[in-house]
Symmetry: C2
Subunit: 197 residues, 2 copies
DNA sequence: CCGAGTAAGATACTGTCAGTAGCTTAAACG
DNA sequence: CGTTTAAGCTACTGACAGTATCTTACTCGG
């Protein structure tokens, strides 16, 4: 790919090519093993060109990661009961986290400690949308009189997925079994909701 | 320290000196910035001597970290109500996590991804005792008829501290404000316990 | 159409650090 | 007292982030 490039790319086009190469490289080897040389080679450019645009390996990879996320807001499940709605959301989250992309996110979070700038970049995207979906599911449950309005706080709404995230941070890499999701919902989330009101 | 050592240390004595030097170095610069050269220098020995004992930087630091933890089982608070017991435990956990040692633990967890061996070493210690304390507090609450026995499961018992851990994994380094602890207890933990029974 | 400025591209370098290798020498042990 | 083991020393390798320098292509204003 390095050979025989017709024209010399500039500006946004080059930005794009580098981010694309970074995404491919992240998928191929993950963040931990990603090297700037490899990205430069894949993009058919040189390292210093990359450093003119992003200050560090972490910054580049966070930018690339954010670029690979779906931009359209996710739809909240509407199955008719909080239990199955919550389970559906939790399973979706679990699927995402056990995906290669989920793995990349965890490597990224682990790897950019000490770059608070990057952490902020990541966090604002990471699950701001997530809160909304849970609140939406709860709002419907409230309108069904399944749940008391006092449960409509971010803290309460996201308890289930917060606990799931905790499982991942303890266990490292592997996927969380479905039984654990059910446990979280039946032993914690539903009892908690029931007690509100 | 390297100069004028009377005798050449061997076996357990040398192990001990290296671990001690590692602990000091962890306190001084943290895991991320800890170098094997620095440990060797501080211990007054050579790098290959260390590598004869521990296979990697991660392994050495995990061993040193485990060595610096208190070994005596922690006492469960007994204030007369679940609320203040839980708050006390949560504050204690928060204090520990915002300590330099807590910071070291987080750097360690972040840094040894990809060494599952080490993760296992860490995890078995990390909070096995923690579960017991929460169960103990809950058991007392049960005997006071504050809480139903069905809440006496690890999953339910540790919800509060699991949520706290989640705060840390999102926020990176800083300490969690007390208001958040109170929120976790009052909005989540107590309602959850109340609903059991 | 042309010349100045800008940024891409190529290459080579620095500095840091994990982990390794080989030798010398002190000490433990029979 | 001689053999074996491991400590201590020094130097090396290889990987990689980040930097510097120079050449060369493209852009754009005039």
């Amino acid at each position: 790919m390095t050979s025989a490039r017709p024209t010399r790319r500039r500006g946004a086009a080059l930005d794009e090519a580098i981010l694309q190469a970074t995404i491919e490289e992240l998928h191929a080897v993950g963040f931990r093993s990603l090297t700037m040389d490899a990205v430069a080679a894949r993009a058919g450019t040189a390292k210093n060109v990359i450093y003119r645009r992003w200050p560090s390996r972490g910054a580049l990879c966070v930018a690339a990661y954010l670029r690979m996320l779906p931009t359209d807001p996710e739809d909240a499940p509407d199955t008719g009961s909080v239990r199955s709605d919550a389970l559906a959301l939790l399973q979706r989250a679990n699927d995402r986290m056990s995906t290669p992309v989920g793995q990349i996110l965890r490597e990224l979070v682990a790897g950019i400690q000490g770059e608070p700038e990057r952490i902020r970049d990541l966090r604002e995207q990471a699950s701001r949308a997530g809160v909304a979906v849970w609140l939406k599911v709860l709002a419907r449950a409230v309108s069904r009189d399944e749940v008391d309005p006092s449960a409509l706080t971010p803290r309460v709404a996201t308890v289930a997925v917060d606990l799931l995230r905790n499982e991942y941070s303890l266990n490292g890499a592997t996927s969380v079994p479905n039984a654990v999701l059910v446990e979280i919902v039946d032993q914690v989330y539903l009892p908690l909701l029931r007690s509100h009101g």
